[in-house]
Symmetry: C2
Subunit: 223 residues, 2 copies
């Protein structure tokens, strides 16, 4: 026997995925839905929490619950988001000094001069992803370019976690919706770190792609 909240979530989910409830639509209020499904409001709210964690609805305090726009799934590959047709990025530039985890990440001394680019990517009207990009001040371009010159190697560390409250509100996602957290460190051919990027990508709208070329010898061992 499936629990009440799952039964309700299943019903609403099918209405959303079949298009019976279209994107942007406001759902009936929680008391109304509770009456309709003949459950108490906590139970109904539990059902909505399931849909929220799946990224299907967006809860806005004082306004209502809304069907989320099903944005096209983007791919993070080669350090960029693709396809990037209708993406626009807003960037805030800040000068600061190295501290905390930035010191080992960029392999710079404490209080070294850095430039931070704080980027928010929008897909249409909706915020899609966040990036904090750190560059040593002497290498920092006046404007951030996605194609950085002088990079010979990059390392991407990928993990999944729940968003911080700030990330959740900036991206307008549930704090129960996991994000891909990618730390990308790029070095030049001398081994100097020329850029560190901290990326936050909502799990329902992005996946990451990595290609590896293998070199094998006659014995089938990696070289």
């Amino acid at each position: 026997m499936r629990s009440l909240r799952h039964t309700i979530a299943d019903d609403l989910r099918s209405q959303i995925t079949t298009g019976e409830l279209t994107a942007g639509t406001r759902l009936p209020s929680e008391p109304q839905l509770a009456t309709h499904y003949k459950v108490s409001t906590p139970t109904l709210r539990n059902a909505l929490a399931l849909l929220q964690a799946e990224g299907l609805i967006e809860k806005i305090h004082g306004k209502g619950n809304f069907v989320r726009h099903p944005l096209r799934r983007l791919t993070y590959t080669g350090g960029r988001l693709t396809p990037d047709g209708d993406l626009h990025v807003t960037i805030r530039t800040t000068n600061l000094r190295a501290r905390g985890h930035l010191i080992p990440l960029l392999k710079v001394p404490s209080r070294a001069l850095l430039t931070e680019f704080f980027c928010v990517t929008h897909q249409g009207e909706s915020p899609h992803s966040l990036a904090r990009i750190y560059v040593p001040r002497d290498l920092a371009p006046a404007e951030l370019h996605w194609h950085r010159s002088g990079v010979s190697q990059s390392r991407d560390r990928v993990s999944a976690r729940l968003p911080t409250p700030e990330e959740a509100s900036t991206l307008r996602i549930s704090s129960a919706l996991a994000v891909l957290s990618i730390t990308r460190v790029s070095t030049d051919n001398t081994g100097r770190v020329v850029e560190a990027a901290l990326l936050v990508l909502p799990s329902d709208r992005t996946d990451a792609l990595f290609d590896t070329h293998h070199v094998t010898n006659e014995k089938g061992q990696e070289g």
Copy 2:
């Protein structure tokens, strides 16, 4: 003002991380904790749900709530988990025919002969990760080797999601704890798919590492 459940979760979290509550310990029962914190049982359970989603505790129906063993964080890199010192893997081998999403994934005709290796990795006593590895029958080894010969290229598609109920129970994690889901497709130098691996890695115990080497010409454009 921080909500009650967050305050309680913060208190229990600090007790766990400082070692005041050691791994494997059973927490007091939920009614006892509710009395201690002077809250109702639903509120106390909400607090525990936060810790569960962080992977700090494990709830076992009919037995109690237990502090989870803080396993060393493993890294998935080059298609393998490292360090693999105390990992052991149990494998179940099944013969089957291609259907559904396996057909485009392995680029084989419908009902093509395949071998599935269903792997569960254990770190000490605790299950760590799951893998479903598919190989065309004519290439399938009698025993699965982590070093596959004849692979010239691999592509890893990484996403984050909540585990299925089966995955959550096999890995003994909360269904609210996100997992890294990696689909790794390996091809030989003719372009034939020789292996497809579907990996499920708990987000609190694993991250994934990818290195990229860039080739740049004099103009700083990628080549």
